[in-house]
Amino acid sequence: MKERPPQAFGLNFLLSTLIFYRDGTIRAMFRAIETGVDGVSSSLANLPIGAHARVIAVNGTGAVARRLMEMGVVPGAQVRVIKTAPLGDPIEVRVRGYHLALRRTEAQTITVMPGK
């Protein structure tokens, strides 16, 4: 591996913190460190933008969980996080070839396995 001067690392770290702080990427990174990127389940809300994942479980109950599943977010479905809204919430995901917006609170109830 190439050595990096410590200052550059510090600067990079600061910059990426600034850039990623708002959209939850940092949270997702910590989460990834905790859990490992692939192979350990996470919640859909914690995935970084662009991440692919497979739905493992929809944990909510009631009308919202039902609607999510009717829209095709069922265990086994492949999802990809497209983007977050300008104010950080809701998020947009691609599922079954179309795009779906849902709030982070709803995304939190969906357990996914990161990876294609």
Binding site: G97, A101, L102
Partner: protein
Amino acid sequence: MSTTLESPASLQTSDQSSQRQARPLVIALAGNPNAGKTTLFNALTGLRQKVANYPGVTVERKEGIWQLAEGAPPARLIDLPGLYSLDAASLDEQIARDVITGRIAGLPAPDVIVAVVDATNLERNLYLVTQLLEYGRPMVVALTMYDLAERRGLKVDIKRLSEALSVEVVPVTAKQKRGLEELRRAIIAASARKGLVAGWCLSEQAERELAALVNPTGESADRHTALRELYGDELPEDEKRREAIRRARERLAETDGNWWQEPLLARYDWIERVSREAKNEDSHAPSTTESIDRVMTHRLFGPVILILVMLLIFQAIFSWASLPMDLIDRGFGALGDAARAGLPEGLFTDLLVDGVIAGVGGVLVFLPQILLLFFFIAILEDTGYMARAAFIMDRLMRGVGLHGKAFMPLLSSFACAIPGIMATRTIENPKDRIATIMIAPFMSCSARLPVYTLMIAAFFSTQKVLGFVSVGALMILAMYLLGIAVAICVAWIAKRTILKSPPPPLVLEMPPYRVPNFLTIFQTIWSRAWLFLRRAGTVILAISIILWALATFPRTEVKSNSDAAAVEATQEGASQEGEQLRNSFAGRLGHLIEPVIAPLGFDWKIGIALISSFAARETLVSTLSIIYNVGSDENESSLIEAVKEAKRPDGSPAWTPLVAVSMMVFFVLALQCMSTVAIVRRETNSWRWPLFMVGYMLALAYIASLITFQGGRLLGFT
């Protein structure tokens, strides 16, 4: 036997049916929102369609006539509201289910269901198809966007899909009218078929429980009814059966905590198998929509574009609409003059001219604005931008407990609350919808502008702040902000009290961008405008007549008849008119409420104008003209002078800058618009909400006006 009786005669060859009167075939179009259902409906029916409402609700009922087979009576084609599922989460879905099961009065269960399926979004669209199959009604699948899918490299094997679904699949391109003939043949063929079976099943235990419910005591309950009872929210009426279902659910829950997900999983499992058979692997090539959205919902550009779009709409409404508005205004003026000239003098003519023509004209003046707003809302909906606006604004709207979808209705209310309130139909949860309706009239609409303008022209026209910002402009801005602030507070409070419900969930499809279809858009505008005119019109007419009567009776003795015959609004005529108004019931009411409105700074003459303004806000201006004997034909500057010079009996001025501000605050908050009252009555289907709104908004207006006037006096303003 019962099936033979119900079945339509048109296409049956049995001798029984030919003896009976032929009943037209009933065909229902069902499909997801944005699947191209309306385009297909228009292509099939042409313009032979009518729009009404399902009884008791505001769900639009679209029905058309379609000459299906030669020699047979034309079929009735029902366009169901767009839906994702039949599990009755929203009113639309409930109605659609009622139509399919034949529970709507005067509408037999459909003989054939045409499921409209978007080929570019096959799997999710097929979910509704699986549910429709469960009902076992004859069905045909109309595959839309087939050409679009092919261009994207998505191949759907029609034959295989048809085999897998066990119903005929017909690719259609409604715009070019391709596939319609095949669809017609498929429907005729399907109408004779019976006994469809959904190709999926549940786990062994669930199937056992279901089987036990299908035929528990010998009485027949269909499998789909049992399925809906076991897994749906509604329990049956019968106490014994309800108990059986409760116990079955408990047993299922013991084995699996997520037992209720089972049918959903089974359906999608089956869908995946079907679509693996029938279509090639989904290519993840970024679509045009994704590229457009890179800008449209961009972190920075997204909100900027949203603001620009709104600016464009408002610019259009306020500048383009003014010409037709002037024309309507003058047209009704001319109509009134003509009626007065052509009809014999008397009460009836007065009623017709001053009550009916002036009242209806006063509302119709806003029709160009309303139509333009309908137009823009329809375009935003049809292109798919509406979902993006909700996506961008949802975080802010959630702050006050509202849905992202509430943003557009509220914004349109800045031009006119009526299209705004009608646009709340897209909000699924009734409580969230009513909360949005409740605060929509706080947005300063265009009818308040004449009032603001008069007040500012009379008292704040010359002052400037910092040398260049006029006080008047600041005043208007303050009034807009006041409305928004109060709306936020009311929504916040309402969502925690009378409309208590958890923050509405947002599960929103972001549909692909589409070029709007102008035929569909004009149909939408037409049907909405017609609904407004017809339903609101009757209420407006009634209130206009009541207000006219209040201002006309009791009659003031006219000194000489020859004077009264002079129709021109001479100074004398105007003063006579003023005299009449002052002595009428409205005038007496003005006196009556004077003690109540005096703390707000209003005298009884202003009281009269205030009473009349509850018909429509801008009426204040014309009523003031009559009270101050200005005469309606004279220009506005003379009214400004009259307002400035109006005196109370003690000689002090009736209007001061503080009174003007108090008046504007009152107008920001009070619901002085009979059209809004009428439309809320229609949209909520009861008088409870509109009356409540009139009441609480009046209370708020009174309190705010009181604080403004008394507080202002304490601070030393006049």
